[in-house]
């Protein structure tokens, strides 16, 4: 039973991290263009591509 003392907080913490990661992704505009994102993943260009400098924050 004592295992619950850390298992429950651990479960909540992990879930909470997932939630915060989603909210951060939403804020940083990663869900703005889901169709385009699928293609951008296939781009070979270097990361300092000028088109990417303007990541919406």
């Amino acid at each position: 039973m004592t295992a619950l003392a850390w298992l429950v907080p651990a479960a909540l913490l992990l879930g909470g991290i997932g939630l915060l990661a989603f909210l951060w992704a939403l804020r940083s505009g990663q869900f703005e263009d889901l169709e385009g994102a699928a293609y951008r993943a296939l781009e070979d260009e270097p990361a300092d591509d000028p088109a990417r400098r303007d990541e919406p924050q």
Partner: protein, 729 residues
């Protein structure tokens, strides 16, 4: 979480707000960006303009956000660069979408929080329920309930806001909407559970409250994202229509600028073959203009100084100088504006299916909940038990079919249509179009293409066609372009002739080795036997003149679509502003028996009002400025993407392409969407009929109620997804 996979069509975040705050940000709508390759080409093309510091394209929204250094580059440079790369772009000048997108995100954040809370509370409460009566320690169960409370309370306060706000607003207006019982169920369940947790009792139902909230929020979010997507598409279409205009500055110099930036008093130069970008009065120049987009009249009208001219008019003759006037001073536009206002007020009275159901449903839900509570009290049950049963009734009856099923069906239907090049502009348009029982067409630009096409092509000898096309290639006049297109179709190797001189409004001439060649009006080619009408003559000195006749031709599948509509049992009518004999010809060609010509916009509305009085619901399909009031007055409306601004803005659906078949697709998809929405109501209703008596009798705990409700929600969503099938066409 399902919400992740949804296409969120919002454009980049930096868009509108940043554009106002920082003048060097620009958002352009791109018409033909369709794949990952285009995405990169658009960005590269924009970046190639000196002074542009960044460009980010959004494929879902079909827009690109460009940042540039003030003074080193401007809107027009970027548009021209994109044009060279093969993309038509237009500046977006509406920032009001920001508020809607903000609302979409506001809901999505709450979906995420409610989802997180629902899963974790479920984890805790399932163990409590599983362990109850077994070996679970009572203090541990209490601890779990307290933990649930700790998660549920902030969640309800945060994620319940959209419902509480709407319910409060309804109550202030002394109305009942569906958000009232929803808020009541959530708040009562939470408060009751908190009370029981404090007292250490078992009847704790945080799980039910939060799960309910989660599912309802998904429905709200789907509804909102459909709305945002539809509006975004509509704005793109309108922006792409407006184009670029040439203005003459006070010092006589010419400057090109986006049409939306024109102001009253500007002096506009409209070259032959160009469309007039704004309403105005002709200052100088005279000749013929094509007003088919305005009045439906296909015969060119004459234009002379002092005359009023409307945006969308095609200049066939000399270059015209136009002074831009404010729209409200124009007589035709004022008339149309007034008619539009009246027509739209009529439409605002339409109540959506879900709202109509809610009107009956909401009082019933409250009544049943109250009856359960009072009934159990009268039977002598303690008030906590009575309240628990009442909450179960509220949760069972909570309108998931209304909150989730209808938006799910509509988003599935809209994405199906979208893949076929049809934009659903009004969220309730699908419901209205499914109810229509008569289809009314406009002629010019709707049944026909709205562009002059060469007639009797086969009768024209190859030689004459090739020679005429050689001359015509030098002109932007629509007839000249029609000749070039016809020659191209015959695959004649056509050589664009050198030394062609154009006399605007009259014709083209070229002095060649075999004598002079002329292409133009009968008078220009010195042909006496002119029968009038839309025609152009070609004459080489010493040879007989050749006549090229032009007419607006039917869309290729117009007759087919009309036939299909007839087979489906729709009565059809053709209402046009064009001359009666032209209307009659088209009506006979496509097979519509009821037709009327020479109608003014107000007369079109009268005809529609007559239909409405007879209890018919009209689907209006039209494109012209003169159709706009009729489009607004009809029960539902469709317009092609080539239509006048105002018509596209008014229509419930806008379809792209040369074919008329999308009209059939809209009708059948709307009918299927309605059938599936009704099935969903059926599912929800059956489940209520079965479950409510049990809940009132006290056999259903709120937990079971929440689980059963979730199952029905999933069932209803899966049912809706059936519509989305089918690939791109």
């Amino acid at each position: 979480m399902t919400a992740h996979a949804l296409p969120i069509s919002a454009a980049t975040k930096a868009e509108g707000a940043a554009r106002q705050a920082r003048p060097d940000m620009l958002t352009l709508a791109i018409e033909n960006m369709r794949c990952g390759g285009c995405l990169k080409s658009v960005e590269r093309a924009a970046l190639s303009v000196p002074g542009v510091t960044s460009a980010r394209a959004n494929l879902a929204a079909k827009r690109v956000s460009v940042a540039f250094e003030e003074g080193r580059a401007n809107e027009l440079d970027v548009i021209e660069a994109l044009k060279r790369a093969g993309f038509s772009a237009a500046p977006m000048h509406a920032a009001k979408q920001d508020a809607e997108r903000a609302r979409e995100k506001y809901l999505l954040r709450r979906v995420a929080v409610a989802g997180f809370a629902a899963m974790n509370i479920m984890l805790l409460s399932v163990s409590v329920w599983a362990g109850s009566g077994g070996d679970m320690d009572a203090s541990l169960a209490a601890l779990f309930r307290w933990l649930s409370a700790l998660i549920a309370l902030p969640t309800v306060v945060y994620a319940g806001q959209p419902f509480f706000a709407s319910a409060l607003q309804a109550l202030r207006g002394r109305r009942l909407n569906m958000d009232v019982p929803i808020s009541l169920a959530i708040l009562l369940a939470t408060a009751m559970s908190l009370y029981q947790t404090v007292r250490g009792n078992e009847q704790v139902y945080f799980d039910a409250a939060v799960t309910l909230l989660f599912f309802l929020l998904i429905g709200r979010f789907l509804d909102e994202s459909l709305r945002v997507r539809a509006r975004g598409e509509a704005q793109n279409l309108v922006s792409l229509q407006s184009g670029i205009a040439t203005i003459i500055e006070a010092d006589g110099s010419q400057r090109r600028m986006p049409a939306h930036a024109l102001a009253p008093g500007d002096c506009l130069l409209v070259a032959a073959g160009e469309r007039v970008a704004a309403d105005g009065v002709i200052l100088a120049g005279s000749g013929e203009v094509d007003q088919s987009l305005i009045t439906g009249e296909t015969e060119p009208a004459s234009a002379s100084p002092g005359q009023q001219i409307y945006a969308g008019t095609l200049n066939l003759g000399n270059a015209l100088k136009i002074e831009v006037t404010a729209a409200d001073s124009a007589t035709l536009l004022a008339e149309i504006g007034g008619l539009m206002l009246a027509a739209e007020q009529g439409k605002a009275r339409y109540r959506r299916l879900a709202d109509r159901a809610a009107q009956i449903y909401a009082p019933a839900v409250h009544g049943l909940g109250a009856a359960t509570f009072l009934g159990w009290l009268l039977l002598g049950a303690p008030w906590q038990t009575a309240l628990t049963y009442a909450i179960a009734v509220l949760i069972i009856t909570c309108p998931c079919a209304l909150a989730l099923a209808v938006p799910a069906v509509q988003i599935a239907a809209a994405s199906r249509l979208f893949r076929r090049g049809i934009v659903v502009k009004a969220p309730d348009g699908l419901e209205r179009v499914a109810e229509t029982d008569i289809v009314v067409f406009d002629k010019t630009g709707t049944l026909t293409l709205g562009r002059p096409q060469l007639l009797d092509e086969e009768a024209i000898p190859d030689e004459a066609l090739a020679a005429a096309a050689g001359l015509a290639a030098a002109s932007r006049h629509p007839y000249a372009q029609g000749i070039v297109a016809a020659a191209g179709k015959r695959q004649k190797t056509m050589v664009a002739a050198d030394g062609v001189e154009e006399t605007p409004g009259r014709g083209l001439a070229r002095a060649g080795a075999h004598g002079e060649e002329r292409l133009g009006s009968a008078e220009w080619c010195e042909v006496a036997a002119s029968s009038g009408g839309s025609e152009v003559w070609y004459r080489r000195s010493g040879q007989a003149p050749v006549r090229f006749r032009f007419a607006d031709t039917l869309r290729t599948d117009a007759a087919e679509v009309v036939g299909a509509l007839k087979r489906r049992g729709y009565p059809l009518a053709l209402l046009s502003g064009d001359r009666k004999n032209a209307v009659e010809t088209v009506a006979a060609a496509v097979g519509i028996e009821t037709w009327l010509g020479e109608l003014r916009p107000a007369e079109k509305i009268d005809w529609l009002a007559e239909c409405a009085r007879a209890g018919r619901k009209v689907l209006m399909i039209g494109d012209g400025l003169n159709d706009a009031p009729a489009l607004a007055a009809a029960h539902a409306s469709v317009s092609p993407a080539s239509a006048a601004d105002i018509s596209q803005r008014t229509a419930d659906f806008v379809f792209q392409g040369q074919r008329l078949a999308p009209v059939l697709e809209i009708l059948s998809t709307a009918k299927r969407a309605r059938a599936i929405a009704l099935q969903n109501f059926g599912v929800a209703f059956c489940y209520n009929i079965v479950a409510v008596p049990f809940a009132m009798a006290g056999y259903v705990t709120p937990l079971i109620a929440a689980i059963v409700m979730s199952t029905s929600s999933i069932l209803v969503t899966v049912n809706a997804a059936r519509l989305a099938g089918g690939g791109r066409s």
